[in-house]
């Protein structure tokens, strides 16, 4: 890059850098506030059309279909012997995976002070919370007697029956509950100053709404200190929680005695897989937000896609590493059922899925994301993110129903064919987008105060003839 710079470019270097980096392109806070407020208030007929459509899909796909399934039993779904688990758990793992990106961006990047995170931490955290809601729906759908699901909760009762803490599903319940609660709190804490901002420039029902949400926040030194401390604790503490959640989800499989599942590497493999799909989802959301919401081109710039694209590439490599690790050890072990299973993955009737998974998760990201220009182009990274999500969904599909088809009792092997899972799955997706659309018009999607804080910390500095970005640590 540097060697290709010509003089003209050099002359415009500073301007170029400012245009490129949000952090070097500050606007007055008031103007940024106004832009964010405007973005929340702007809805086109297209927005409402999509919103209405999604609401209809949610009503039918999620609530009506679920009602049917509760009334009729799981027979309307495609689960059978031996594939006792199907798309419901695929979706559960998928949504929990999606939810990992929010935490990764807002906690890990915050801890490591990766400054590019600032404008989209909230967009990513919203995904975490709403994704976990869908994961919750999916896991409850999966239960045969969902009306008794409260039996999984530990609560004192007259018979002194407590949940079985030997079961990975109990750990799941604890971990997902912990994660859902803490990620929601972690979404809420940095939101308080922004809703306070919105409160200050709203009228009518929105005023009331923001007033309630802002809890009376003014921005006093004390309030900021408590908030900062809390956010700091959260940023550190939520990272192990995040890792634990997907590790425990992986234990649902790894702790079982089934061939193909009983693998010690499943924990990190699942975590990385979660980040893989999560980052893909973040980049899709950002591309859509940038493309459809007003004023967002200022806040979300190619530099952000570029940075996330880089992360995606690294995660893709890590995923490939874990995948190969798992495959190698399973393959080498030589257990006849495992070998049969691996063969079934590749050559069975759903073998195409296995290859598509590898193409979408590895080949395409590697082919595209190494190029800075491509990974800075929103539609390209959007497409890559979409493919990664499809690929990661396939990965879970391969791990759950396809692997369940093969076991140690060949007399029972049988394929799984989804039934009502399809409308239900589409319902969760629609509901996720619906929640996100509603949230995008109700709460400030851009953490303005964080952006302003970042812009304060960044400046250009000249080293000889080179102008570079420097950032000072404010805290």
């Amino acid at each position: 890059m540097a060697e290709k710079k010509n003089h003209a470019e050099h002359a415009h270097g500073e301007e170029h850098l400012r245009k490129k980096h949000l952090m070097l392109d500050p606007l007055p806070r008031g103007q940024m506030n106004a832009m964010v407020m405007e973005s929340m208030h702007t809805t086109s007929w297209k927005f409402w059309a999509v919103f209405g459509l999604l609401a209809a899909i949610t009503a039918y796909g999620l609530f009506y279909s679920w009602g049917v399934m509760i009334a009729e039993g799981l027979g309307v779904a495609g689960v059978n012997r031996p594939a006792y688990w199907g798309i419901f758990l695929v979706n559960t793992v998928f949504w929990i995976g999606i939810s990992h990106a929010g935490t990764f961006i807002s906690a890990i990047l915050r801890v490591f002070k990766a400054e590019f995170r600032r404008p989209f931490t909230r967009a990513a955290e919203l995904m975490t919370t709403f994704g976990l809601v869908q994961a919750g729906f999916s896991i409850f759908m999966h239960m045969g007697r969902v009306w008794l699901s409260y039996w999984l909760m530990p609560y004192p009762n007259q018979r002194m029956l407590w949940p079985n803490l030997h079961s990975p599903l109990s750990w799941d319940l604890l971990a997902i509950t912990t994660y859902l609660l803490s990620s929601t709190m972690y979404l809420f804490l940095p939101l308080i100053p922004d809703v306070a901002m919105a409160r200050d420039r709203s009228t009518g029902w929105r005023k009331t709404f923001y007033k309630i949400l802002a809890l009376g926040f003014r921005g006093t030194e004390g309030e900021w200190t408590h908030l900062r401390n809390a956010m700091n604790i959260f940023a550190w503490a939520i990272i192990p929680v995040m890792f634990s959640v997907h590790t425990i989800v992986s234990w649902d499989f790894a702790a079982a005695t089934r061939p193909g599942w009983n693998s010690t590497i499943f924990g990190p493999y699942f975590v990385v897989g979660a980040l893989h799909s999560g980052m893909g989802a973040v980049i899709m959301v950002l591309a859509i937000v940038r493309g459809t919401m007003k004023n967002m081109k200022y806040f979300i710039r190619p530099e952000h896609f570029e940075a996330i694209g880089k992360l995606m590439l690294i995660i893709s490599m890590t995923w490939a590493y874990f995948f190969f690790n798992d495959y190698m050890v399973q393959w080498y072990g030589g257990d006849k059922w495992t070998k049969q299973l691996l063969h079934f993955h590749e050559a069975g009737p759903m073998g195409w899925m296995w290859f598509v998974m590898l193409i979408f998760n590895v080949a395409i990201p590697w082919a595209v994301l190494w190029n800075r220009k491509w990974r800075s182009t929103p539609w390209i990274v959007f497409t890559v993110g979409l493919l990664i999500n499809v690929g990661m969904w396939f990965e879970r599909y391969i791990i759950i129903p396809i692997s369940l088809s093969i076991n140690r009792m060949p007399f029972t092997w049988r394929l799984y064919q989804p039934g009502i899972e399809i409308p239900l799955g589409i319902g969760t997706l629609a509901f996720f987008i619906l929640l996100y659309m509603a949230a995008s018009r109700l709460i400030p999607l851009i953490p303005v105060w964080e952006v302003q804080e970042g812009q304060m910390a960044h400046e250009l500095k000249k080293y000889g003839r080179e102008t570079v970005v420097t950032v000072s640590e404010l805290e």
């Binding site: 063969h343 050559a347 060949p410 049988r414």
Partner: protein, 728 residues
């Protein structure tokens, strides 16, 4: 296994256990029917949570196994075998287990019905007085020779009653028929017995005592003759505790459930069984040395090998195996007899037994013990005899047909035209408990009780060394407005008066039973005896019947067997197709199980298919024809055609296809109707020399239809056949 404790001991102990935990309750001398009493006057054994056990007889097939039915508060809960009954020693088959699904089937005939037009749906409920009047009028208003009884295969008290009635009044002697008897080729067995040993008895094969068993098509572990008893025999053949494990070889063109248990399965060309049997006889005699018996002298093993498709070495090895044992047994049966040369096959295979001279010896061939009140073996009607009846119907010689215990419209091949003949019968009265095809074509149905609601007895035809008369009693009170056919006949005869009333001078069914049992009361060697008939009948019900204590199997007179000439002719096959067609009785459904949902849900023992009919085809054939599993093919015989999905079956000759019999009902309740097809629709009018239907004597064509119909299988096509696992 220690020597001091055998399986038989265990069974005995289990019997004692059953007797102590479950006190078998016979109805007291005064009580004839189980009654539902108000709660206030509940008999002590009907208290909440208390089970009462009744001994009775299984009516699902004609074998006559003893049952013990557990009832709770007037409801039958579970059937178990009667440990004391010498026939089944406490065991049951799947059909015996599922008999309760017949009792409590939602589709039973609930009232006496008059059908407004034959074949139509619309019926009128009658009361029993009117129904009995209808029967009485039928008796009175027709000449006796115009009245006929068509009954089920079981030689039971109703058959005795009808026989006595017919003898006294001059109406036609009752005809017993069942598809099982047709597929077992019982007439051929007894005819062969007559030709060889001079006595038309049903042979009994002591599988359990043998060391080497050669079965030519006999599906004795499935529905053949007495499956529970033969299965027990098979178990002791294999039992390695007391002796060396017995060897079992099956000769058949399609591996049956029985063949699946064979140590060697020999897929010979259909029709060559007699030839193969004689060739083995020759080779075995050679191996034993001494003069070549006349019976085997004319057969050429090389020709047998080439015509049967069995390698000569295999024949030699089998012959050596047969000759090498003093306890070798050869059994003819099943499809091998249902061919044009069926009688020759039966004779040739029976002759093989002369090599080990096992007649009347343990592990050999006996005549089945006759039941205690039976003078001679009475086989059910052969298909040829049915044709005679049908012809009489066509000729208008039969005006009234009483049908009980059989469903001729389903069980007889369509080509025999029972349906067509029935149009010439002015009045058809069915006594069926279930609305089957024949009921739909009958003018009246006066439903009998279900077997578990009725009195009676049944003679055990074969399977037990001791003579057995299995006793039946109601274990529950009748659920619907049904009436015992015996009672209906008695009442109608009284009403008709004259010779009819004189022929059946009984108050009711129970009195008739007592009159029949009276001769056994103080007979020697009986399992029970009593001074008065009421006590005797109480014991009879309590123990589930009456049996002699000693072995009464007949010993075939086989002096001349080896000096006879035997025909080694191959069977003639009718029809133009390229495939031998082998229908076999579904081991789980048999002829009358399709209405019981749990029998439908039992996987077929060989294919694991549930709820449907399939046609079995060799993988190689299927590959050549471009047919895959679940492809629907059309099978065309000279008598008819039908469409059925394919099961690619690895253990069938490439030139043979096979279909189970048992499904394809057009009536018979919700679980049976419109399910599968009936291979009897393909069968033509061909018989063997003994008059049995040559059901396996046809060749058929196959056409692809391009349709698919997935068969419901318990097994995994991936795990068992590797289908859908992907190429290696």
């Amino acid at each position: 296994m220690s020597e001091k404790f055998s399986r038989r001991d265990f069974l005995k102990l289990a019997g004692v256990g059953a007797a102590t935990t479950a006190v078998l309750t016979g109805c007291g001398p005064a009580s004839r029917y189980v009654k539902r009493e108000p709660y206030m006057q509940m008999p002590e054994y009907n208290y909440n949570g208390q089970s009462t056990y009744y001994a009775t007889t299984c009516r699902e097939c004609a074998a006559g196994c003893g049952l013990i039915v557990r009832t709770v508060q007037g409801r039958a809960i579970k059937t178990e075998g009667n440990v004391n009954n010498p026939l089944n020693l406490g065991k049951t088959c799947a059909r015996g287990q599922a008999t309760l699904h017949g009792l409590y089937n939602p589709d039973r005939v609930m009232d006496p019905l008059k059908r407004n037009s034959r074949g139509g749906e619309s019926t009128e409920v009658m009361d029993w007085e009117a129904a009995i009047q209808v029967v009485a009028d039928a008796l009175k208003n027709n000449k006796p020779e115009e009245i006929a009884f068509l009954m089920g295969m079981a030689p039971d008290h109703l058959f005795d009653l009808a026989t006595d009635f017919a003898n006294a009044t001059g109406i036609n002697a009752p005809v017993r028929f069942g598809a099982l008897g047709m597929f077992e080729a019982r007439a051929t067995l007894s005819k062969a017995s007559e030709n060889l040993f001079g006595e038309a008895s049903l042979p009994f094969f002591d599988v359990g005592g043998a060391q080497v068993v050669f079965s030519f098509g006999a599906n004795f572990l499935e529905t053949w003759l007495s499956p529970v008893s033969y299965t027990r025999g098979f178990a002791s053949l294999r039992e390695s505790k007391t002796k060396q494990r017995g060897t079992f070889v099956q000769f058949e063109s399609r591996m049956s459930q029985t063949g699946g248990k064979a140590d060697e399965w020999i897929p010979l060309r259909p029709g060559s069984e007699a030839l193969v049997a004689l060739a083995i006889g020759r080779l075995a005699s050679e191996s034993r040395g001494g003069p070549m018996p006349r019976a085997f002298s004319s057969v050429d093993p090389l020709e047998a090998a080439s015509k049967s498709g069995i390698k000569l070495e295999t024949l030699e090895h089998l012959a050596e195996m047969f000759a090498g044992s003093n306890n070798a047994l050869a059994i003819p049966g099943g499809a091998a007899l249902g061919q044009s040369n069926g009688l020759a096959v039966a004779e040739a295979v029976l002759a093989l037994n002369a090599i080990s001279d096992n007649f009347g010896k343990p592990g050999g061939v006996y005549f089945s013990a006759l039941a205690p009140n039976q003078a001679e073996y009475q086989g059910p009607a052969s298909a040829k005899e049915m044709v005679e009846l049908i012809q009489k119907m066509f000729d208008g010689k039969i005006k009234v047909l009483f049908v009980h215990g059989v469903n001729p419209l389903f069980e007889l091949p369509t080509s025999l035209e029972f349906g067509g003949a029935s149009k010439y019968v002015s009045q058809i009265i069915s006594f069926a408990t279930f609305p089957d095809e024949t009921v739909r074509e009958a003018d009246y149905v006066f439903p009998d009780h279900h077997g578990l609601e009725s009195w009676g007895y049944q003679r055990v035809t074969t399977g037990s060394a001791q003579p057995v008369l299995s006793g039946a009693q109601p274990v529950v009170s009748p659920y619907y407005n049904t009436r015992a056919t015996a009672d209906v006949l008695i009442a109608a005869a009284q009403l008709a008066g004259g010779i009819f009333a004189e022929a059946l001078p009984f108050k009711d069914e129970v009195e008739f039973l007592q009159s029949k049992a009276a001769s056994l009361m103080n007979a020697a060697d009986g399992s029970i005896s009593a001074a008065d008939i009421n006590t005797f009948m109480a014991y009879f019900q309590q123990h589930g019947g009456y049996w002699k204590l000693s072995d009464a199997r007949g010993i075939p007179n086989a002096v001349d067997v080896l000096n006879r000439n035997f025909s080694a002719e191959e069977a003639q096959f009718e029809g133009e197709g390229e495939f031998f067609f082998v229908p076999f009785v579904s081991p789980t459904l048999a002829e009358a199980g399709a209405n019981k949902p749990w029998l439908q849900e039992l996987p077929d023992p060989t294919t694991t298919v549930m709820w449907n009919t399939w046609v079995e085809m060799n993988p190689e054939t299927a590959h050549e024809l471009g047919i895959e599993n679940d492809d629907v093919v059309k099978i065309i015989s000279e008598a008819g055609e039908l469409e059925v999905p394919v099961y690619v079956y690895p253990a069938i000759r490439p030139d043979t296809i096979a279909m189970p019999f048992g499904q394809g009902h057009t009536a018979y309740g919700r679980y049976a109707e419109q399910r599968g097809v009936n291979p009897a629709d393909l069968l033509g009018q061909h018989f063997n020399e003994a008059g049995d239907l040559a059901f396996a004597g046809m060749k058929v064509k196959i056409e692809k239809t391009g349709k698919k119909q997935p068969l419901s299988r318990l097994e995994s096509m991936m795990g068992v056949y590797g289908i859908g696992l992907g190429e290696e």
